[in-house]
């Protein structure tokens, strides 16, 4: 009997193929079905809260689930618009907005997610709650977001803004403002009052700022400001650059320090300026400087009202210019 090896191999592979076909089909049948996208459920509601006897004085908003926008208005009531979205009804039922008015004129607004009745996991990105609040201008705000956007405008009693990674934008605010962020950029525009800003890994932008004091620090972010005017300005970064254009108040104090960042300052001069700078490279825009123990000193302008400027960057360059 003659049996060629390739014929046997062909038959063997045919048998294997035929035998594995239904088995592959079984495996195919075991695959999870492709899930069809579930349409989003959206819910919008609006609530007007009028003060009973005492007017509202403080508004506190804590929304880790989305954006917050607060707009000042001339009325006395607080109007709250809630925009909720979720992948399905059961998830929508888990989204909660709470409103707690206090006897002291405070109004606390918060969002949360209930644990849910089933064990199904729902991603945070699949749901959100956005809040739009129209509040009396003379109400002081405290607002906090996670990764959402925080916008406040048209308020006259200052406030506090906190974000984890979402951007903060405050515009047209009077009164003392505090802004804190870990990694979300902070933009402060048309702020008329003292500012205290502290950022970890984000940039701070200031535009049209006037107040008694401006204190800001950023660890890894940069600080930039234009049309800045304050009696006391203290800016500090670890590695970010600082760029400032503004005006020093008479008898004002400007102190900018950084470890690695470059410092560029352009101010409109008034009265006498006493400038001290310490950096890897220093340019004070004048040749009339003295170097004392590594510090470059310059006396600029004239008059009885003396303002002080102190610029220091251990590893960065310093450029200072005055426009009289």
């Amino acid at each position: 009997m003659t049996r060629t090896p390739h014929v046997m191999a062909f038959l063997a592979s045919l048998a294997t193929g035929l035998a594995s076909a239904p088995l592959a089909a079984v495996a195919q049948a075991g695959k999870a079905p492709v899930e069809t996208p579930i349409p989003k459920v959206v819910e919008r509601s609006r609530l007007d809260v009028a003060p009973s006897q005492t007017p509202f004085l403080n508004l506190s908003v804590d929304n880790p689930l989305g954006d917050v926008r607060i707009e000042g208005h001339d009325g006395s009531s607080v109007m709250i618009e809630t925009h909720k979205s979720a992948p399905d009804d059961s998830t929508m039922d888990r989204l909660r907005v709470s409103l707690v008015p206090g006897l002291d004129g405070s109004l606390r607004l918060g969002t949360a997610v209930d644990p849910g009745v089933d064990s199904r996991s729902v991603a945070k990105s699949a749901m959100r709650i956005d809040l739009v609040i129209r509040a009396p201008r003379d109400l002081r705000f405290t607002a906090r977001v996670g990764s959402g956007q925080l916008e406040v405008s048209g308020m006259d009693a200052g406030g506090e803004a906190d974000a984890t990674s979402g951007p903060i934008s405050l515009r047209n605010i009077s009164g003392a403002v505090n802004a804190r962020s870990i990694s979300g950029p902070v933009t402060l525009t048309e702020i008329f009052g003292s500012i205290d800003a502290e950022l970890v890994d984000a940039a701070l932008r200031l535009d049209t700022v006037a107040g008694d004091s401006l204190v800001a620090s950023a660890h890894r972010g940069a600080i930039s400001g234009r049309r800045v005017r304050a009696r006391r300005i203290e800016l500090m970064t670890t590695s970010g650059d600082v760029e400032l254009e503004g005006e020093l108040a008479l008898r004002g104090k400007l102190l900018i320090s950084s470890l690695h960042g470059n410092i560029t300052v352009r101010v409109r001069g008034r009265g006498q300026l006493s400038v001290r700078a310490r950096g890897k490279q220093v340019d004070l825009g004048t040749t009339k400087t003295k170097l004392v123990k590594g510090v470059t000193l310059a006396e600029l302008g004239s008059g009885d009202d003396r303002s002080s400027v102190d610029l220091r960057s251990r590893h960065g360059a310093i450029a200072f210019a005055v426009n009289w």
Binding site: M8, L11, A12, S13, L14, A15, T16, L18, A19, S20, A21, P22, L23, A24, A25, V26, A27, A29, G30, A32, P64, L65, D88, D89, S90, V113, P115, G116, S119, S121, V122, A123, K124, M127, R144, S147, D162, T164, R180, I182, S183, E198, V200, D201, S217, H219, R220, M236, T238, S257, S258, L259, R278, V292, K293, V295, D310, R312, S313, R314
Partner: protein
């Protein structure tokens, strides 16, 4: 085909579900048969009015009920023996499997006849069979488990608080390290003051749980470290 046969297919014809050939035959019959044409017109009118009805939203509980029923079936499936599960999955393919088994049997016979033993994993014997069983079982297990990689929102929110805490911790660690590399020129008094202050601020941070108050404590510590890092000479009475 009789009129009754054509009329049974009217619904499918009006829904466009007949093949070209069947539809052509239907059109031909409708041209010649008044009774069927009348029936088709009535049916068409009915379908049209049905289409005009507003869409009916299923009650929210419907999907919950369906999901619950599916879950029960999956649990029952998981509790049944593996060979039953395999059979249920393989049943739709039984006719094809029969051909395959027959072909495999022929091949085995030929191999036996040739005197060569079947190569491991190539024959239709037990070495091949466990593979689909295992994959079927694992896929059932995968379907029963919660979707992998999806972190529930409650957990995600708790993680965000922890992440914020870790971000501050990391930034403070960086600042402490930078201070250590830059403090060579510090006066002993200033260095001692720095150590004491950092100890107090750090203890405050460590005594708080992650949250707003702890963030404030971190911020105070960070600002002190940055001030010490960039303005130490000022505090030490630089000219």
């Amino acid at each position: 085909m009789s009129c009754a046969g054509y009329q049974r297919q009217l619904g499918a014809y009006l829904d466009g579900e007949l093949s070209d050939h069947q539809a052509s035959a239907m059109r031909g019959h409708l041209r010649t048969c008044d009774a069927c044409r009348t029936a088709a017109a009535a049916e068409s009118k009915l379908l049209e009015s049905l289409r005009q009805l507003p869409p009916l939203d299923p009650p929210p509980a419907l999907w919950q009920a369906i999901r619950g029923q599916l879950a029960q079936e999956e649990i029952a499936d998981a509790r049944s023996p593996w060979h039953l599960r395999l059979w249920r999955r393989a049943a739709p393919f039984a006719p094809h499997a029969g051909g395959g088994v027959l072909a495999a049997a022929v091949a085995l016979t030929l191999l036996w006849w040739s005197g060569a033993p079947p190569a491991p994993g190539q024959g239709p014997g037990p070495s091949v069979a466990p593979t689909p069983v295992a994959s079927a079982v694992s896929s059932v297990a995968a379907e029963a488990a919660p979707p992998s990689g999806v972190k529930d929102v409650s957990q995600a929110l708790a993680d965000e608080v922890t992440l914020a805490d870790q971000s501050y911790d990391k930034a403070v660690a960086e600042l402490v390290e930078l201070v250590a590399s830059e403090r060579a020129g510090w006066s002993p008094a200033y260095a001692r003051r720095y150590e004491d202050r950092v100890k107090v601020l750090r203890a405050r941070v460590d005594g708080l749980v992650a949250g707003v108050e702890k963030e404030r404590a971190w911020q105070e510590l960070m600002r002190y470290l940055q001030t010490s890092l960039t303005r130490a000479e000022l505090a030490m009475g630089e000219p």
